[in-house]
Homo-oligomer: 366 residues x 2
């Protein structure tokens, strides 16, 4: 029997009405900025980070949640004795940083949100130390300052023995010409896909559900001998070194999409009506091949929910495409000039799989 998202425990039909209410209320607060001589960049509503025009530059901000990936680390600790929280730290920061860079921002500072089910969580020294070390290493990799954070013990709110991890990030867009909200996207642009390292932190509910029905659970060996749980814990790639290097090289993407929930449907996140035609598929990381096979999900379900090897998409002028890919590779992130933007109905056409996602398959806006 195949697994799907509702079985994995997340029912968007229950969450979406609240989200819409909240988005409308949030949009209605824009006028408050006038009191401070500031103005919202309205086109950032619905994008991956919020942008305010501060005159000399744009200010971008974001708060992002890790999700349930720490539960995989907790389960794997019982199997291998490692904590994996250095990786979990990178995953959490990547959620915020990979989103904020989509609007053209340089991430400047981050705050940590580490809410636990009780003070005893922090008494596990190895785990606490690796969480701190991984967080710092990810900050250093992205050139951001770790400004502070919260480490509350919330018995009764967070489950016993667990931790709820999130990150907030502030960035600046300077010069203002780096702002990437999609106005420049045009037919003829190239789509450059940047490699993922594995599942990253989206689709983890499905991956956890799958572990429950494998006889060896997270200890199941993949073809190369890696344990399923360890493969899931490959840390999310941090893409800000690439976006910063592109800016330094004079390449301003016409749009960026962080491939997270909704998988490749996110490739049509841009608000306009374009067809995104993919001619080249990145190799699928073994752990995602394994999930697709063992969860018995078809290509539509897999590419519609998982990153399938592409963690981030850059939309650039065709003449910049190969150079953009080279810049990513120079930062040890594989990259492919994988498709192009065309005039036409809003859809993602994955030619090698004869698979099409229509505009109705993605609802990320009001």
């Amino acid at each position: 029997m195949s697994l799907d998202y509702k079985q994995a425990g997340v029912d968007y039909a229950q969450i979406d009405p609240l989200k819409i209410l909240a988005q409308r209320a949030a949009a209605a607060t824009a006028g408050n900025l006038a009191r401070h001589g500031l103005i919202e960049v309205a086109a950032s509503r619905g994008e991956s980070a919020y942008v305010v025009d501060c005159g000399e530059f744009y200010l971008a901000s974001i708060t992002e949640c890790l999700g349930t990936k720490a539960l995989v680390a907790d389960a794997m600790r019982a199997i291998t004795g490692r904590t994996y929280y250095d990786r979990i730290a990178q995953d959490t920061l990547a959620m915020a940083i990979n989103d904020i860079v989509t609007v053209g921002a340089t991430p400047v500072s981050v705050h940590a949100y580490w809410a636990t089910g009780g003070s005893d969580w922090f008494a596990d020294e190895a785990r606490a130390r690796e969480l701190v070390e991984g967080w710092k290493a990810a900050c250093d990799a992205c050139g951001v300052a770790w400004g502070g954070g919260e480490t509350p013990a919330l018995a009764g709110v967070v489950a016993p023995g667990r931790i709820d991890l999130a990150a907030s990030c502030v960035g600046i867009v300077r010069p203002k010409s780096r702002l990437t909200l999609g106005e420049k996207l045009a037919a003829g642009d190239a789509i450059v896909l940047l490699a993922s390292s594995g599942i990253h932190a989206n689709g983890v509910s499905l991956a956890r559900k799958l572990a429950e029905r494998l006889p060896d659970g997270y200890a199941t060996k993949l073809g190369d001998g890696t344990l399923y749980g360890e493969a899931l814990l490959a840390p999310t790639v941090l893409y800000s070194p690439v976006t910063e290097a592109l800016a330094a090289a004079g390449i301003v993407p016409h749009y960026c999409a962080n491939v997270t929930g909704h998988g490749w449907r996110k490739l049509m996140r841009h608000p306009g009506a374009f067809t995104y035609r993919i001619h080249t598929l990145p190799p699928v990381p073994p752990v995602l091949q394994f999930i697709q096979r063992e969860a018995q999900i078809d290509a539509r379900e897999a590419y519609g929910n998982l990153n399938m090897g592409a963690g981030f998409a850059l939309y650039v002028a065709a003449e910049d495409a190969e150079r953009a890919a080279q810049i990513a590779r120079a930062h040890a992130i594989d990259a492919w000039v994988a498709g192009r933007v065309e005039a036409g109905a809003k859809q993602v056409v994955i030619e090698p799989l004869a698979l099409t996602f229509g505009g109705e398959d993605l609802h990320v806006r009001l």
Copy 2:
């Protein structure tokens, strides 16, 4: 038998080593900002918000947690049928906004972090609507834009039926002369205390523990007939309208302290060695009188952990003190010129209670 914090379930001895590790690692990331032509304001480390010098202005940021106060709302719903999540929303935002204004920042935008134990949390329409409405109202009251947020369903991480609430806030300090990190604090300055509305969101673990041992729990009536639980749910005062009005009136505080955890010990939060002598006590809100009496805690325990009627402290030049208090009152927040800063050992002397907290009673820095 009296109640104390360890009985209430928070053991700082377990959390503090991790906090110190994290603070050291965070401080070591400051140099990353040089890559972007920015510089950290090192004096903001250990203060209530992180500050970066962006040239034209300072950028301040913060992420803050509500804590366990939503559990009181959940319990009260069973008693009165009201959700109280409009108030809980204000509490959550107040945690971030009242902190960020201490450094002289104008709060600009906020992100919501609403992590639930499952999608079903959001299916309760009245509660979800009141959470949204209260959040928006608090944003409007403070003149901040609600930029976005996260509403994850985290079964297995957040406890079933519960919500983990936090807020992040970005602010700017402009003109830069508004920066309030304490350099100007001097003997002779006045201490102006601003009224709290009740317990705010600190000391709630103690208040919840007390409810467990009252025969009528949260339904216990206070002297004026208010239910204990409802009195606890008076929303935290938002102080940013006062700090903004002070700036508009040309009063730049020499220091500010948000009176949260550690109660009046926070009055000596400033890094320098000064004696803070209090000659006038604000009236104690009935709910805090009730807690002190019923939990059988003495004045030292009460003033050392609860706000006891003073939610925020302004340290201003003596000649500005009365005017600062008047500005607060004009914003419907009672205020008292309650004490003065003196040369001398680091301590808070509460003369009307013959109570002294020494510098060793507060550890909020490395």
